[in-house]
Amino acid sequence: MSPDLAAVALAGVSLLFLGPLSGWLDRAAWVTRAPRSAVALWQAIGLAGGGAAVGAGLSVAVARYHSGLVGGVGDLVGSLVGGHPLEGMGLIDALGLTLAVDVGVVLLAVVAITMAGTIRARARHRRLLDLVGVGTDRVPGAVMLDDPRAAAYCLPGIRPRIVVSAGALRLLRSEELAAVVEHERGHAHERHGLVLLPLASMSGLLRRVPYAHRAPRAVAALLEMAADDHAARRHDPGALAAALVLMGTAGAVPTKGTAGAVPTKGTAGAVPTMGTAGAVPTMGTAGAVPTCAFAAASTAVPARVHRLLEPRRSSRPVAVVTFVAAMLAVAVPFVPFVAR
């Protein structure tokens, strides 16, 4: 493929992947059926989109050698090694080269710096956690924070920490708590913190790139679903869904304060007493879960609840096709370099 054609094609691929394609993936409903493969597809689109941008710049830079794309890259490297870089290079060629270097090196460096900041913040969090966190009989292997507000999270790292607050322990029944902790173990086991790290690090820097602000949020939601799946394989999905609702709507208030709005504990099968607080509407007729209302949500919680309550459909074909698509997407920027 000629360098000129390659430059146009790669620039097109980059714009397509980082723009409309990421938007399409962001809106796709089927991704929830194969969250882990969908995460791979997100990563692949980002890698390929970024790689294509670098390749486009490189193609422009080597066009003047008239020795084809691969030969041109060879000539360019030769001129650099030979000590006469930029020799005979026009303005456009130099611009192309600069672009390739900028996108490839500068952005990676800036993202790396942001990532280092996040890693430092994690280390600081861990240091404090190891000083003030305490063990708890109810959840072996987890750390408890003595705070009345409900929270549960996984602090990523080489040795990840699973943390629950005293408020969460009070809020959840034991089977719900077990499901929550297993969910966090899923995060820890599958190293989700590592997946999120580069994505979250670029969101602040590349606000103009649609992919950069869609991917972190979409991938975070998919990783939550992957962890939900991990927990639902070992515990009752209903208990996990209930825990999600309780934890998601308990918010930052002490769990004691919301006691009226939380189903009473201990009496299995009893009708939950509803609080008189304005936050909770009077109970309507008991019936099906209003799934349609989950469609447009500002957080992933409603979609996750819906997913856990809905009868599980086989998602293996979706997962396989998605994963193959991810592998193909990564290969796209290399096509001009191998095509004749």
Partner: protein, 130 residues
Amino acid sequence: MARLGELERKVMDVLWAAVGTELTVRQVAEELPRHAYTTVLTVLDRLERKDMVRRTKEGRAFRYAAAASREAYTAQLMHEALGAALDRDAVLVRFAETVTGAEAQVLRRALVGMEEQPRARAKRARTVKG
């Protein structure tokens, strides 16, 4: 390394227990009879470098105190744990973001529906039998 971490914890516990009073190394070491004076000194130095402990000079000796209370540190961690609904920094992975307003109401109702299911099932079963 893990042992050192454990010791840091013990030293902080001693300092936290001494609310308001600054302790000398010897006083801290007395509370930890199984550890040598020099070990305690090393740990206090480490904690000071990490800004967990502050020290003031009194005569020829240093006196140590926790830089913040246990509650303050816990609150700090919880602040990060609860954070904003949109986690841009990826420092930690939360179980559930905070859901508010109409969405929260829908979810609460869904929960009530879930809690009711066993009863509804039992009712249906009775109807079928009768």
